[in-house]
Subunit: 301 residues, 2 copies
């Protein structure tokens, strides 16, 4: 497992262990020493992938590491470095007889239909940021290479995420933090419809995909489209009566796509994953997580 | 210029110099020492791209290096290494203010139409080998990255090639060699239609593309579809009356596409390139080149 300490990765690791998998983390390891379940390595180092795979001898590689710095990752040249690092990891997988390789994609690979849902293998692909172009291109190479090397390949396409440890500038976190501080939360018109999934459910789904025999792209999402204003409304209800949303206080972004929603037939029927709770329940939990988190931070100061 | 000693590259270098460009070759350099116009470097070495670009300080990078071993290159895992090397070279171009980056693609990126020609930006893309998938995916990343870094990017898509120093197992070379040896040349039905361009003309066209301001994919081809049997027939006419083709002596390959022909509007009208001679004249020259080449080899033994 690479990227196992990130926003997505930490929940995938927990889920993998819960499902009974033995997990070895490959991490740059700012925190702490190497331990039996941890290999310290920087995959941007050209020799790292081969060393890590030959040491860990994994049955499955779940590769979640990539450049993900909030706001920067869309267009940073580091996307090219992560594409190259991912190709080296795949080469190492082929060389050392890894059985299965699972990578992380994005809903931004799709040419979102104005109506209806994004369906793997059917909805056209039209990425428009360096991040999404690079993810899509990497997937194309990995799929072909895996078929030739006879290892399994799957690609979990993440939709919109929320939950604990989300970057505070991202939508659900920023609204939850405002509301938890009893400040009014400004929003755009909030009419854009998105498919939001709790990061813990996304982690479970990716772990289930990794441990399944399913190949190719699989949407990791709730399958339910909700207007941004409705997402904010659910957080507001969790926060209680005096919490205020300022709908329309911010301008809508130009060219904002009206609808980005996943078809989750593959995840549900082939991987066999269904989330343990509704989006509203998860948003309520997330609000309370932020509430406690802010209280703890305040107490620590 | 990378790959400047290869089958394509050597003619590109000659053309660039003829057009007045100052050329610095980046080569692994099996033959000879470094000289003022040559930098010895292996682009598969992770640090090479940055070193080469910072030393050469090129205005334009023309990147022709890739794995091209006859018969092997279609599916070799080395395609992933060359994709990664190309991403490093593009990163170096962005870092060192290179004005223009030109890469080499292939007609195998296209989903060839049953009738009509392959048109850049219009004919769908559907590569089916690791080589073509990797080339296509690399192009997607480079185009997006170049736009963000504000350097120019062009991609010359090579169609079918023939000419001096072609691998002797490839079509035109193998027929020419048989005929020059006064052996009958066995062929399939020869009904498949292909767009063949002489390697010297392809070299001129790529050099013209490199020195032009044209961006995006550009077909490097003759624009003329000829049946394989007609190509062989032109070589036979060059060889003279007693030369024999055995049309139909070899089986047709299963799933051989009936037609792969380029639209060359972009090359002709935007780059401003037209070949100096017809395909028949070039095939005649190529036959005589093989004839002399075989005579010299025989004399040397």
């Amino acid at each position: 497992m690479t990227g196992g300490t990130g926003f997505v990765g930490r929940w995938v690791v927990q889920a993998l262990r819960r499902y009974g998998a033995e997990v070895v983390l490959c991490t740059r390891g700012a925190s702490g020493e190497a331990s039996p379940g941890v290999i310290l390595a920087d995959l941007l180092d050209p020799d790292a992938a081969d060393e890590v795979v030959s040491r860990a001898k994994p049955d499955i590689i779940l590769h979640a590491a990539w450049c993900v710095e909030h706001g920067q990752f869309w267009q940073t040249p580091a996307n090219l470095d992560w594409a190259a690092a991912t190709l080296r990891l795949a080469r190492a997988a082929g060389r050392h007889g890894v059985r299965r390789f699972v990578g992380i994609g994005t809903c931004f690979e799709y040419d979102w239909p104005e109506e209806g849902d994004c369906i793997e293998g059917r909805t056209p692909i039209r990425p428009t940021t360096l991040y999404a172009v690079t993810k899509d291109a990497t997937r194309r190479i990995l799929a072909e290479y895996a078929a030739l090397q006879a290892f399994e390949f799957a690609w979990g396409r993440l939709f919109y995420l929320f939950g604990p440890w989300e970057h505070p500038d991202r939508l659900a976190a920023s609204v939850a933090i405002r509301l938890a501080r009893r400040e009014p939360a400004p929003l755009s018109s909030g009419s854009a419809v998105r498919d939001f999934i709790d990061i813990r459910d996304a982690g479970d789904a990716l772990a289930a995909l990794a441990l399944s025999p399913v190949q190719g792209a699989v949407n990791i999402a709730s399958g339910r489209g909700l207007a941004i204003a409705d997402i904010a409304g659910m957080l507001q209800r969790a926060a209680g009566q005096d919490a205020r949303l300022l709908i329309g206080a911010l301008p809508d972004r130009p060219n904002e796509p009206p609808r980005i929603v996943a078809d989750i037939s593959r995840l549900r029927d082939e991987v066999g994953y269904t989330p343990g709770a509704s989006t509203e329940e998860r948003l309520t939990e997330t609000y309370h997580w932020w509430r406690e988190h802010l209280d703890q931070n305040a107490a620590a100061q």
